[in-house]
Amino acid sequence: MLPPAEELKAAIERGVPGTVVTLDGPALYLEPQALLPVCRFLKSHPEYQLDYASNVTAVDYPPDPAGGGAGRIEMVYHLFSMAKKHGPVAIKVKLPRDNPRVPSLVPVYRGAEFQEREVFDLYGVQFDGHPDLRRILMWDGFQGYPMRKDYVPENQDAPA
């Protein structure tokens, strides 16, 4: 079984020196540059063996109209273990909304390939080190990121 989030946080900070993990409920927040080393650690750790990146997605938090700020995009990763049959561990990474960049998880988990392409397509997050970062659902040449909260859909009823 997986330990509670506090223990997991302590284990990560011991196993990957220099990493700071912030807890929010069951989710572990990481800095973008810590993502790959932490995932490698969790995958190879004999007790956790989180070998299965089930779900990769993002959530958009636009700037608060009253409070200002730049807003953020949060990457969300749900990791499970097929070997140990436990999980999930929810890992999150906060990215600035005007220039969201995060290392690609593909070198560790191949299963992230299409899901990262989807996040790139719909949210505009850049994945450094992704082998084939192209739009996947929208067509090439499409402008904008349709899943962002401030995306304005085209008015199909407007006269041509």
Binding site: G25, D51, Y52, A53, S54, N55, T57, V59, V76, H78, M82, K85, P88, A90, Y109, R110, G111, A112, E113, F114, Q115, E118, L122, R135, I136, L137, M138, W139, P146, M147, Y151
Partner: protein
């Protein structure tokens, strides 16, 4: 006179997007050396309708009919996935009878899906018609059951948080029992045609082999994963709904080729029949939906789950179907994400096809079992 050194060039072939063997509007951009595949890039998105954005602009309950259209062969499973995520988010309970009806519906869905996909796979191999029509004959009977319970054959929109939308009509359980009792006979007949068939073995054995390590690393799930010999069935691992109460096995393949995938699905259907027999025997009376669930169904706009998030997942016929919901306390999900099994399973299509003949790519694609409604969302 033939020159001893034949000059050859690569040939680019675009398979699809409108071809029966691509199972919908799906395209494979291939590069061939003679008949051998040297590169294959899947192209998708032709059916993209931004299902997730639609889901964020309506109430939680209003998304149910839209989930029917994800994997349109398995509407009941899609409904269950969303219902489980909502229940997790809002902490809702399900009535006993509701639990049993859900199990009946999703296991019947598994029969429908696996029967149909086997028929289609044979179509892809060139056995036009016969196996597919046998499969569809049986599928029809189960669709009649779905229609009697939900009012619709394919777009069922039946399972709700807290239970199911309506109780079963009179005589439904007897009808289901008759079909479940007869099904092993049909499977035997189906297997007589297919399992030992020399042509099928030639076309499928050692074709599209997916090694265990790659399957796990590429987040492959469902029969495709189990055919490669990885024992991972979410019904067993998570024990969601009331699956721990039933006795069933998880069939595994050895090599992970197309033949193993075919046979794992046949064995899975036999296990589903065991679950169905047990559920039909044990199903209790009582309400089909909890009072809270019924109230939500009547007034969906008043349903405001507490702030928080949930990732609910089930073992759909095609693999892990996950729903990720983030609630901001309002009556619409702040984030609504679908982790579609056929979309993720397509990741390794190229790996499985490299080095094979172009005709095998069609069979390998058929053995993954994709539905474009779910891939493109």
């Amino acid at each position: 006179m033939l020159s001893p050194a034949v000059e050859s060039d690569f040939l680019e072939v675009s398979l699809g997007p409108q071809h029966p063997s691509t199972h919908g509007v799906f395209r494979m951009q291939t590069v061939l050396d003679g008949e051998t595949i040297v590169s294959l890039k899947p192209v998708m998105g032709y059916l993209h309708r931004n299902h997730e954005q639609l889901g964020e602009q309506m109430t939680y309950i209003a998304s149910f009919p839209f989930t029917d259209r994800l994997d349109y062969f398995s509407a009941m499973s899609n409904n269950l996935g969303l219902a489980i995520a909502i229940e997790q988010l809002a902490g809702l309970d399900v009535t006993e009878r509701g639990q049993y009806i859900r199990i009946l519906m999703v296991e019947l869905t598994r029969l429908v899906n696996h029967t149909a996909v086997t028929g289609f796979l044979l179509n892809d191999m060139g056995a036009f018609g016969t196996p597919l029509l046998y499969a569809f004959r049986e599928r029809e009977k189960i669709l009649d059951l779905f229609e009697a319970a939900s009012g619709s054959r394919m777009m069922c929109n039946y399972i709700r948080p807290g239970g199911v939308r309506e109780d079963l009509p009179d005589g439904w359980l007897e009808g289901a029992k008759a079909i479940v009792d007869h099904y092993p006979q049909f499977l035997d007949q189906f297997e007589t045609l297919l399992t030992e068939n020399e042509i099928i073995r030639q076309r499928t054995q050692r074709v599209g082999v997916l090694p265990k390590e790659l399957a796990v690393n590429a987040s492959v799930t469902g029969p495709l994963l189990r055919a490669s010999g990885v024992d991972y069935d979410i019904r067993k691992v998570d024990g969601y709904a009331i699956y721990p109460r039933f006795k069933f096995k998880v069939p595994l393949g050895q090599i992970g080729d197309v033949y193993d995938r075919y046979y794992v699905r046949i064995l899975e259907m036999r296990e589903s029949l065991k679950i169905l027999q047990q559920a039909l025997k044990e199903i209790p009376g009582g309400p089909a939906i909890s009072p809270k669930g019924a109230a939500i169904g009547k007034a969906p706009r008043t349903f405001r789950p507490p702030k928080g998030e949930a990732y609910g997942r089930i073992e759909a016929p095609k693999g892990e179907l996950g729903f990720y919901l983030v609630s901001d306390g309002s009556n619409q999900p702040y984030r609504y994400h679908v982790r579609a099994p056929s979309f993720v399973n397509l990741t390794i299509l190229e790996d499985m096809c490299l080095g094979h003949k172009i005709a095998d790519a069609v069979v390998i694609l058929g053995s993954i079992d994709i539905v474009l409604g779910e891939v493109d969302r």
